[in-house]
Symmetry: C2
Subunit: 325 residues, 2 copies
């Protein structure tokens, strides 16, 4: 039987994962490119095109690649561009969707990583058939995507869903956005590590900090019963619970899906979080919002999401978007 | 020429304003009912029906009333109900849209007062032809309505747009919702008066407080140069500026319209607010969001909004809503 595939690209500052994704969630023809090897976006697009050419040779003549879906930090769907992506080798506004479309002749849809994670959950994950949900990514920063009444919120510049930059502690921790007290300075993996370091210093244990590079190490310590490691999860849950309750007053969702590095901590985070979240929730929402972790396989979630971008676009094209369908 | 009208109802805890509204913004056949005169919602509906009957006699035979639009605190559009409205004489969940429809035979659309204000701005006011905007009502509480991508946000329970209950000061002022630090405890007309009282007390001027019943009195004092009255506007602007900047990270709007009692203060509030808002705004939104006060006549804005509910429903019916079109 002939197959129909999307070429999915999970584009990051250091690596780009490529693969073909089928409607059945199958992932084949994987490839990894090193983003920094490509000085100009045109060179990167050339490499994608070469990969597509080699993939096409391996497919049967009846198989079809129907589009290219790209998830990238600072991806702007309205314009199909990367907008001043801070960790990317290419500067300014990069019209990546146009470049990919012109080179490959394929429809191309591009969006930011949080939105792509949400499309993945919508198509394949925890939010199937849902019309009102929020996806929160807890990585280096705190990303968010709001699906309301069956549609992704984009806003008039395509920059909606920046819950990580909601100020939750006026005059609080400095944020790289130039302001203070943004949710992501407390609730992202980076914010979590800062909380852990603060607590270790208060306890006079700063000399041990060299053993803790990332949340995984703190998680391991917490599982061994380390009090400060556990307290770091509790404090992060306090801030994240407040942040999520604040998100609910905007869109009154049915579900919040947590994903990204810190979500890997599982129960250590979810258990205190559930309690804090319910406590902070506006009374009329209590018992009406579920909180869950992504059930998609971590390393493939972004590829599945990037593919969903294309599948969803076919079923509900939006004339506002700069897409090639 | 025969006219087409909507029967608009601006329902409050003490009064209900009724009128016919034409597509040209004309308001005729005004009537005021005292809500507390009606012990049961059925009695109120009976009075509405009687008013409609008398109005109909005054219209020409070719004139037509095409529907009833109702704006009310705690109005829930998804179910056409008043849900536990705290200041209304009727308790629990009141199926007002159903009652009105059954009694009058007319299509009936009901929504909460903030959403109704937003429909008014959309149809007749500052937000005509706009797809992405927010309306904030600064009255006893802080109400909000989010229009995103050409549609009002309702959320899965019909309870979206509760920006007044975003916590902006963790551990801050107690809110009647049972939590602490909600935006409305600082930014509503009530919150403003509390700030004024706090400042007067700090200054040892509490004996003067008897002269200040409402923001209008403080406004007059500020215009006379009273330092504490002016400082109250400045402090309120600080909190409101932060609240509005936080709203923007969700929906990336093009415009925010302020309405309600406190908005009447005009420049006294808007001038410091503009500055604080721009300072708090995420960099990528700077220069892309306008802030304005409602240009609709205060006493009629809710009637115009209630009428817009019906006009808009005809042009974009939503099968989710419990409406009779």
């Amino acid at each position: 039987m002939p197959g129909v595939f999307v070429a999915a690209i999970d584009l990051g500052g250091t690596k780009a994962a490529l693969a073909l994704v089928g409607k059945d969630k199958s992932i084949t023809h994987r490839q990894v490119l090193h983003t920094s090897d490509y000085l100009r976006p045109e060179d990167f697009v050339q490499a994608i095109s070469a990969w597509l050419g080699s993939v096409q040779k391996e497919l049967s003549p009846l198989d079809r690649i129907v589009g290219v879906g790209v998830g990238a930090p600072s991806g702007n769907r309205l314009h199909g561009t990367l907008d001043y992506a801070p960790n990317m080798p290419w500067e300014g506004v990069v019209p990546l969707a146009t470049l990919l479309h012109e080179k490959t002749g394929l429809p191309c849809v591009l969006d930011n990583d949080a939105n792509v994670a949400a499309y993945g959950e919508w198509e394949f994950g925890a939010a199937r058939e849902m019309d009102d949900f929020i996806v929160i990514t807890l990585g280096t920063g705190l990303g968010s995507a709001f699906i309301c009444n069956g549609r992704m919120l984009y806003g008039h510049q395509g920059l909606a869903g920046e819950a990580g930059h909601m100020v939750i502690v006026p005059g609080g921790r400095p944020c790289k956005c130039g302001r203070q007290g943004c949710a992501e300075t407390y609730c992202s993996a980076t914010g979590f590590m800062m909380t852990f370091r603060e607590l270790m210093q208060e306890a006079g244990r700063e000399q041990e900090l060299v053993h803790y590079f990332d949340p995984k190490a703190v998680e391991a310590a917490a599982k061994m019963g380390d009090t400060i490691a556990r307290e770091s999860f509790q404090k992060t849950a306090e801030w994240l619970g407040l942040t999520l309750a604040n998100c609910c007053v905007f869109s009154n969702p049915r579900l919040i899906v947590l994903t990204g590095g810190l979500a890997g901590a599982g129960k250590l985070l979810l258990q205190p979080l559930q309690e804090v979240f319910e406590r902070n929730l506006l009374r009329s929402y209590k018992g009406h919002v579920s909180l869950t972790f992504s059930a998609l396989p971590g390393q493939d979630a972004a590829l599945l999401g990037a593919a969903s971008l294309v599948w969803r676009s076919f079923s509900s094209a939006n004339p506002e978007f700069h897409e090639f369908l």
